[in-house]
Symmetry: C2
Subunit: 278 residues, 2 copies
């Protein structure tokens, strides 16, 4: 059985940076360090950090001994940033620089008087963060729901992990209904490359294994893409979920992984499949 | 034989306005009135105006007795407008208000530092006019040629008579290559509606007759659209070009006409086809 691992699988620039920051903090401080929400969408990495004393909390009210607060890769709402800034903790900002850019553009479009639209997942922390930079009404665009009515001047920013095809489809709609459209393509390049490589791979293998957090938007998207190409697809977080029967009769297996999946998990998955292949 | 005439066939708002202005001028002045280029792209209308003393010229040097100059619907380059403004003629601006808007947006995008792109036909007078409002390099986008390389911030305006599908296709390309895209949909609504009605009609008739100037971009586009739908299509300027054999065996005939085709010519074409149908 031939096993191919995508070159683009695993940590992107922003995740690598955030995880490095967190482990660095763990080396220096041993008490009162928290992340507001999971630092990245990978439970295994979050667990390793917890073992080193860096604990995720959902609300600053949860703990009374906060000394330092790490901001997650996806960013946090503007109002919360303001609130915690005034509380005297050390703030360590691990927001992905590409997400920061998208936040800046959302604010700019809002200030320029555009009806701001965000293409992404309403409940995703990155989108919640982006929304908070817009004053006034903001519309979230997602292909799972009908597009909203548009007119006048619309400004668009995009969740960094959205597929470019979704943006193209929405733009085709927007330009027919609004007179002016200003759009920042804030999709990060590594997402686009990963989707592209995964698509190519999925067309040429018998089984695709997609590795990454079940709560990771970009990993889930990789799995959805593979399934749409009719290849047997399995989305797992770790090698322990793998079942031998998945690979019965398979000649080639492709492995890809989301932006928040660490190298050690990908290697482990590869080894486990290799063992099955015999 | 059933004959259907498109509701959207013929004069659009801008053409109607320009032709009215010209006939009004003809009623008052009888000497020294010229249009810079044909006022609209319909030779028969231009001829009628010529009979009333309104003569098209290509260059102000052509005539020494200019008293009043009418600006054509498509507009003229900014530099020429500046030049003639200082020469003491009466200037009568019959530029289509939608074209004027597109000129304004081209200028605005240029001032805002965008790489300005114009989607349209390089040699069309409207596009030549639009180009002149951009300082610095301007790129003309046309599907007949490969799209240019893009990066950074691009600003787009569109020749008012382009099909929306061309804009959508180009936007899909642009958003993948430029980080920021600002686009004004300057396609005039009547063009969009005319193309839509013509498409529907062409799918339901045996023969399509498209009436309008051979030099009219929007009329030519109607004919191209019909041909792409594999219906027998004839682009004519007047009824004199009609041949009986076109309608042999035809049960239904559709007639559509460009934005610069006058009502009298459309009626005449309809009567001529009716005569053939018996």
């Amino acid at each position: 059985m031939k096993i191919v691992v995508a070159k683009t699988a695993g940590f992107c620039f922003g995740v690598k940076r955030a995880v490095n920051i967190a482990f660095e903090v763990a080396r220096k401080k041993h008490k009162g360090v928290y992340t507001l929400g999971p630092i990245i969408h990978n439970p295994q990495v979050v667990e390793r950090l917890r073992q080193r004393g860096i604990v995720p909390i959902e609300d600053i009210k949860e703990k009374g001994d906060i000394e330092a607060l790490i901001i997650r890769t996806h960013g946090i709402p503007y109002s919360i940033l303001g609130k915690i800034s005034s509380m005297g903790y050390e703030i360590i900002d691990a927001t992905c620089p590409f997400v920061k850019k998208a936040q800046y553009y959302a604010k700019l479009l809002s200030e320029e008087g555009y009806q701001v639209l965000i293409l992404g997942e309403r409940k995703h922390p990155e989108v919640r963060g982006l929304m908070s930079y817009v004053s006034g009404k903001v519309l979230i665009i997602n292909e799972k729901y009908p597009y909203p009515k548009l007119k006048g001047r619309v400004g668009i920013v995009v969740q960094t992990t959205q597929p470019i095809e979704s943006l193209k489809r929405f733009l085709s709609y927007a330009i027919e209904h609004a007179k002016e459209v200003k759009v920042y393509n804030t999709i990060c390049n590594s997402t686009a490359l990963r989707l592209k490589e995964t698509e190519e791979m999925a067309k040429n293998v018998d089984v695709m294994v997609v590795v990454g957090g079940k709560n990771s938007a970009n990993t889930t998207q990789l799995a959805t893409l593979c399934r749409s190409l009719s290849v047997s697809t399995y989305h797992i977080e770790t090698s322990s979920e793998i079942k031998d029967k998945w690979f019965k009769g398979a000649k080639t297996v492709g492995i890809t992984a989301g932006a928040s999946t660490p190298e050690w998990i990908i290697k482990d998955v590869k080894e486990r499949i290799k063992d099955i292949g015999g």
